[in-house]
Symmetry: C2
Subunit: 196 residues, 2 copies
């Protein structure tokens, strides 16, 4: 079973497409994804890379339509535009870091993204956070207390530094055998690379 | 036979992938591409959208590797990095506008892109321009004289304004039944849309 690193930030719009189909891809092919949260926002700010500035409204409109169409093609729903950008980007991802340490990362990320793109509720904010955690049998109070701790801030930063050292600059990114693939539309390339 | 508008600028790196495989796609599916040159540079400048600024070297490195890998996957060569950006971007595209008017646009674009990505010779500059035109039985002297004419500058601007009115912001772009698809990696989506 070949492992593919899946590097992501909750808050990235296109990441919804990958998050929602990775389990199916695992069932279809002999691959396993290792879910790795990081802060794409921090890396993009350092690169002076703003995804949707006001001068790029035409591009932003296209992105939403593209996500909607691609989701339809994959067989699931995307209500667009979803709330963007996230007010509590870091909290959403710190919870994913806790999930990574405790073994429920993918379940949480799938749950919080579904609420974002189907119910229009932002990850990192209520009621999305508590609802998503309860859905996967985690106590919101316990998790939120942990998320406020310095240990998790450090683990989150360390994930981001690791991503940066791997030359990751966007979410979602896939790494297999040292090859970097960026974007949901490169997931098939990453899987083919893993299987070749 | 369904027609798909193919909007492109010579000078866009990813456009190499589409230019090189469109004829094959036409043979495989019941679609026909209408080749439409425009200035993506003008549109991007207006959007304040700089593709590869110095702070984004990591991203630029990725792009070249991605293009190389995708070309290999399609079964053709891409020597990367190719010379970038083009010194004579507008001239390269004005010649394509003449080709559009005279019926040899796609042959010229394929020839000039192959020299760029296989021989490392820039479109719009010599020897690429004259070699590409001679390959397709066009007289370089005649074409270059025409390219310097105000009529062609106006036709080129008109193409760009049309692209803008269609909400195109990047190259390559495909339009079918009013749906816009951006990027070589959306070519299959555009074809599926045309055939559905």
């Amino acid at each position: 079973m070949k492992e593919i690193e899946f590097w992501f930030s909750i808050g990235s719009t296109y990441t919804y497409l990958s998050v929602t189909r990775l389990k199916e891809v695992e069932q279809k092919f002999e691959v396993k994804f290792s879910w790795q949260p990081f802060s794409v926002r921090k890396i993009m700010l350092e690169m002076d890379n703003v995804p949707f500035p006001p001068t790029k409204q035409v591009k932003a409109d296209y992105m939403w339509r593209d996500i909607e169409r691609r989701a339809q093609g994959y067989g699931f729903e995307a209500k667009v535009p979803a709330p963007y950008p996230l007010k509590e980007f870091d909290l959403a991802n710190k919870i994913a870091v806790i999930g990574m340490q405790e073994g429920w990362c993918s379940d949480y990320v799938i749950a919080t993204y579904r609420r974002w793109f189907v119910a229009g509720l932002e990850p990192g904010s209520e009621p999305n956070v508590s609802e998503s955690l309860r859905e996967i049998d985690q106590d919101p109070e316990r998790v939120l207390e942990l998320a406020a701790d310095e240990t998790i801030a450090k683990a989150y930063l360390s994930q981001t530094e690791q991503a940066q050292s791997k030359r990751i600059f966007g979410s979602p990114s896939f790494i297999v055998d040292g090859e970097l693939f960026w974007g949901d539309d490169r997931l098939e390339d990453a899987v083919n690379w893993a299987l070749s």
